[in-house]
């Protein structure tokens, strides 16, 4: 349990997707003009990460990595399909996003009207594929740990986008030099937020 909380906290604060790895920056910059849309996209990212990473974890451990096919029989035990992992992961992400979109539309129209327009954006959000690739690289020992990592990084991403959206709403009233307006100042503020988040470094529970 302690380990799980630790992985979660690490994903939120220390190895934050935005501030430490810059994953999902494109949609982060494009959709952070108001807090409301920021919350929507952030929630969608948590949701999709929480679904795709465990699926990719199963694929990785029962299909792709070396020796993963051992459950099929002796002769399959030495097969290493890990070079296919990238294609598998992106296919899972793209199809899951599509599936989730259809399911949400069918069963929860209310959620769909608030998340709906963001879901297609998620398929090209690097933080989702990045989550799968980090999961592969860090080799979590159980599926629960992988899920905890996914939710942690999702929440970290959520915090980052809501934070920047709130700051951008405020900054509309300030007199920023014209060439720096919009993109430039957003980059610099994100950098400063990143420096702020760095003070969490080294925390472990």
């Amino acid at each position: 349990m302690e380990e799980l909380v630790n992985i979660f906290i690490k994903g939120v604060f220390i190895e934050n997707m935005i501030f430490a790895y810059f994953l999902g920056m494109c949609s982060y910059l494009a959709v952070s003009k108001t807090v409301e849309t920021g919350v929507g996209l952030g929630a969608a990212v948590i949701f999709v990460l929480g679904i795709t990473v465990p699926i990719n974890y199963l694929l990785e451990n029962y299909l792709l990595s070396e020796g993963a096919l051992a459950w099929l029989g002796e002769s399959y035990a030495t097969i290493d399909l890990s070079f296919l992992s990238l294609i598998m992961f992106i296919a899972v992400v793209a199809s899951m996003v599509q599936l989730v979109e259809m399911l949400v539309e069918k069963f929860s129209p209310q959620l769909y009207s608030s998340l709906g327009i963001f879901l297609p954006l998620i398929a090209v959000n690097c933080s989702i594929l990045g989550g799968a690739l980090f999961m592969q690289e860090r080799q979590y020992s159980t599926i629960v740990e992988a899920t905890s990592f996914a939710l942690g990084s999702g929440v970290g991403w959520f915090l980052a986008i809501v934070g920047i959206a709130a700051i951008r709403e405020k900054i509309r009233y300030s007199n920023v030099p014209a060439p720096l307006r919009g993109l430039g100042i957003t980059f610099i503020i994100t950098g400063l937020m990143g420096i702020g988040f760095m003070c969490f470094m080294g925390i472990s529970i």
Binding site: F22, M25, L129, F134, R172, P179, F187, I188
Partner: protein, 218 residues
């Protein structure tokens, strides 16, 4: 009507993304994988070259197939083409530059979801013939690459006092040699990449010749 290989229009395809239509600083595409690997010039160079390769091949393949791809499944087709190319690049790097590949780790894989590539495939290659697509790919990938190299230049120079791994500042400048100089360790940390890009954007947009309509509101 047949335009010559280097007509004005074609040259514009090549030169626009380097400056006023730059994918990173103006169109805000492909930032995800751009920033994390700019601590050293070598990594940035390998990354830019991989992107140039993937982008040129993907743009030309999609352009050649554009009349055959059904529009309903075009995204999947694009993803498959791009990810096969990326797997190829990844395997080549693993074979010939294993130490760089180790450092780039997941970021080579993330070229797949690099929005520049998908964006150009979607916006350009699907509607244009081979040669313009080729130029468009080169222009955009190099436009991406030069920003990467510029950021990496400043970060490596001020962060570790080196360029391409060779020391630039003489030993005598450093404290150990009796000097005054200290490397700015902050430059190596991730947040500085964002700030350096922010400053590059600022400088680029401050030029007199920068078109006013591209300036943004807060």
């Amino acid at each position: 009507m047949k335009s010559t290989l280097f007509s004005k229009k074609n040259r514009k395809l090549l030169s626009d993304p380097l400056g006023d239509q730059n994918p990173i600083t103006i169109q805000v595409l492909g930032i995800c994988s751009a920033l994390a690997i700019t601590v050293q010039l070598q990594q940035a160079l390998v990354m830019s070259m991989s992107v140039v390769f993937v982008m040129v091949c993907a743009n030309m393949i999609i352009s050649a197939l554009r009349n055959v791809i059904p529009s309903r499944i075009r995204i999947i087709v694009q993803l498959v083409v791009v990810s096969s190319l990326v797997v190829f690049v990844d395997q080549v790097l693993q074979a010939f530059l294993p130490d760089v590949q180790e450092k780039l780790s997941v970021f080579i894989g993330l070229i797949v979801s690099n929005c520049i590539i998908m964006g150009r495939l979607e916006a350009f290659a699907l509607g244009n013939t081979l040669w313009p697509s080729f130029l468009d790919a080169i222009g955009n990938a190099v436009g991406y690459g030069w920003i990467l190299l510029a950021v990496a230049f400043f970060r490596e120079l001020f962060g570790s006092g080196k360029l391409f791994g060779y020391q630039v500042f003489p030993d005598g400048w450093y404290e150990a040699g009796g000097g005054f100089y200290l490397n700015n360790n902050l430059m190596i940390l991730p947040p500085m990449a964002l700030i350096v890009v922010g400053v590059i954007i600022w400088v680029q947009r401050s030029r007199k010749s920068f078109p006013d309509e591209l300036l943004e509101e807060n």
